[in-house]
């Protein structure tokens, strides 16, 4: 069967959506990922597609099990986001989502690093419009910061590739040893987009500022593209285990403190990425399978949670935990689907997180990483707090905020329903997902002890919530800004810049005065000599000079005459 590069379909879809209007544009937008999926089905098992560009052979498409899995996942994510967006479709968002989808497809099917770079840059450039589309000053500023970090990531990747080319090494996407400048540059580049600790802040800065749909699709694509690249380029890199474990633990404290529920989910996103990165770091077949399965499950339940919060934001205009509460009364469908997402991320049995997260945990124990396992277990209890309980409880239950908004619009409900079906479907029939994983799966999630221990962990953590709530020890939600690493570039750097400028001004000021004095004195000197009445401008000098010329000329004439006789 004939198939084309997956990104092409999205680009064509975007171009058509750009010129189409009204309903036709909506149909084109939603149909694009469907056509893409048919193409993807035909693409499976096909040979690499190459083109020549500036003397370099680019492998535009190279298909393997890992890229196919992410391909299916991202097609589904784009489709769900476009359906969700139909509640208030705008050309800007639709075209942006489609081109963003094209960038992702290009990146995961790229067969070499140069092709990857091309689409890597595209990820940031196309998605930034989903933040700008919000139309607020806050969003605009966040978008600029977002773009700077995304471009920095691209520049690092480019530098890494240049070093590789200079060393005469291959640009193929094969596992790299983390040694040498090139590997580190590429590692850091992926690290920015994967939200490594200290490089993570763009996620929590930008995602809460994007439009309702923007956050849904951004949370699905960029970071998971980086997870795909880490799994392809750095599997089994031990450093990733510790990076991942750190990422599971530190964001949960912020998630507890944070009031903006979409920012809570953004911190939670970093925590979930931590599980995947730990799995990639462990690098065994079970661990890689676990990381990839978790990425798949995660995209669905995280989209679902962001969609439910998007619906709340759209209907109430608010997103702070302290301003919301009691919405289950008039938004029951959204509430139920939010709870499905919450149960999935918390890894309750029969929901998707349960069948994927446990693979990474088991791999950690089998690899002898006891402390890492303990950190992941702590993080699992933490997930229950901020995503499992906080999100649904403070939005839909808790104290009655008195708001009685309408149920979410139909397109939102349909999109959430698709994601809910995926969450439960994967949870009940994990074999469907396991069959698509890169390595053969022998793992059995539904053993008696696993179900029991997981239920103990989650139910007792929930019991703790009830105890804290009943004894009124559970802290109140309060709005505020929580300082994170962004403090260095949003607070410290501007002030350091201003301070540095002031110091420079102090040093420069006397120098400037000195140069002024120098200028003035040279002007005075010039004036003295060449100005009116100056040495070289005096009248007598000129007249005597002309007299001298006349006298000499007369003398020469006379001498010549005398000689003539």
């Amino acid at each position: 069967m004939i198939s084309v590069a997956p990104f092409l379909i999205f680009l064509v879809g975007a171009a058509l959506a750009m010129v189409a209007r009204g309903r036709l544009r909506d149909v084109i937008a939603v149909a694009t990922p469907v056509v893409g999926a048919i193409n993807l089905w035909a693409l499976d098992g096909s040979a690499p597609m190459t083109v020549m560009l500036f003397g370099h052979g680019l492998i535009l498409v190279e298909v393997d099990r890992l890229s196919m899995l992410f391909g299916w996942l991202f097609h589904l994510a784009v489709f769900v986001a476009l359906v969700y967006n139909l509640y208030r479709p705008t050309k800007l968002e639709q075209v942006s989502i489609l081109t963003y989808g094209a960038s992702t497809m290009g990146a995961i099917f790229a067969g070499d690093l140069l092709t990857l770079l091309l689409f890597w840059e595209g990820l940031g450039l196309t998605s930034v419009f989903l933040v700008l589309a919000r139309g607020t000053l806050r969003a605009e500023r966040a978008a600029v910061r977002y773009l700077m970090l995304q471009v920095l990531s691209g520049v690092l990747l480019m530098c890494g590739i240049i070093v590789l080319i200079n060393q005469g090494r291959s640009l193929a996407i094969t596992p790299l040893e983390l040694e040498g400048l090139a590997a580190w540059l590429i590692f850091l580049s992926l690290g920015i987009k994967a939200g490594f600790p200290l490089l993570h802040n763009w996620i929590t800065d930008t995602y809460p500022e994007a439009t309702e749909t923007g956050t849904v699709i951004m949370s699905a694509l960029t970071t998971k593209t980086s997870i795909y690249c880490l799994a392809s380029l750095f599997p089994g890199t031990e450093l990733l285990i510790y990076i991942g474990a750190t990422m599971t633990v530190f964001p949960i404290f912020y998630a507890v403190l944070e009031d903006d529920l979409r920012r809570v989910l953004s911190y939670s996103l970093i925590n979930q990425l931590g599980f995947m990165i730990t799995g990639i770091g462990i690098g065994t077949e079970l661990a890689i399978n676990g990381a990839v399965a978790h990425a798949f499950a995660h995209v669905m339940y995280k989209s679902l949670l962001f969609m439910s919060m998007g619906a709340v934001l759209y209907r109430t205009g608010k997103i702070g935990a302290s301003e919301l509460g009691g919405l289950y009364r008039t938004m029951p469908k959204t509430t139920i689907m939010c709870i499905i997402g919450a149960a999935s991320i918390s890894a309750f049995p029969l929901f998707s997180g349960f069948v994927s997260k446990a693979m990474v945990m088991s791999a950690a124990l089998q690899g002898g990483y006891d402390w890492v396992w303990l950190a992941l277990l702590f993080a699992s209890a933490g997930v229950l707090h901020h995503a499992g309980i906080k999100i649904p409880f403070f939005a839909f239950f808790g104290h009655d905020s008195g708001q009685r908004p309408k149920e979410a619009p139909k397109p939102m409900l349909i999109a959430m329903f698709i994601a809910s079906v995926m969450c439960i479907g994967i949870g009940i029939f994990p074999g469907l997902l396991y069959d698509m994983l890169p390595y053969p799966v022998t793992y059995e999630p539904y053993t008696f002890e696993h179900v029991l221990t997981q239920l103990q962990l989650l139910l007792f953590a929930a019991l703790c919530f009830v105890v804290l709530r009943v004894t009124k020890l559970e802290p109140h939600e309060r709005p505020g800004v929580n300082l994170d690493i962004e403090w260095t570039y949003r607070w410290l750097l501007p002030r350091a810049g201003r301070c540095g400028y002031a110091i420079l001004e102090r040093i420069i000021h006397p120098l400037r005065q000195l140069s002024q004095i120098g200028m003035q004195s040279s002007v005075w000197l010039v004036k003295l000599w060449h100005g009116p009445g100056g040495l070289f401008a005096r009248d007598p000098l000129i007249s005597s000079a002309s007299l001298a010329v006349v006298v000499i000329f007369t003398l020469v004439l006379l001498i010549d005459l005398i000689q003539g006789f």
Binding site: F378, Q456, L457, L468, E474
Partner: protein
């Protein structure tokens, strides 16, 4: 708040029902633990009620530590905007 309708959790009885269901479920998992012969990967896992205690403890620790660091990291709204 013109809404006079009574909803599911407006009745304290229903809230209590949810809480007691949770308590019973917790007790159920502990009872099952007594009878279960568990295969474990790690010695700690074999301790009776390890996961239950860990879940409860981790949750409490998380909330308390977060509350403890609140004064360190939390600033007023609009902190960056001036």
């Amino acid at each position: 708040m013109n809404d006079k309708k009574t909803y599911l959790f407006d009745k304290p009885r229903n809230v209590k029902l949810v809480i007691w269901t949770l308590v019973l479920a917790c007790a159920g998992t502990l009872i099952a633990d007594v009878f279960a012969h568990r295969h474990v990967d790690h010695p700690w896992e074999s301790m009776f009620g390890f996961y239950a205690a860990f879940g409860f403890g981790a949750y409490a620790l998380l909330v308390l530590v977060s509350e403890g660091i609140r004064f360190l990291v939390q600033r007023r709204e609009g902190y960056y905007d001036d």
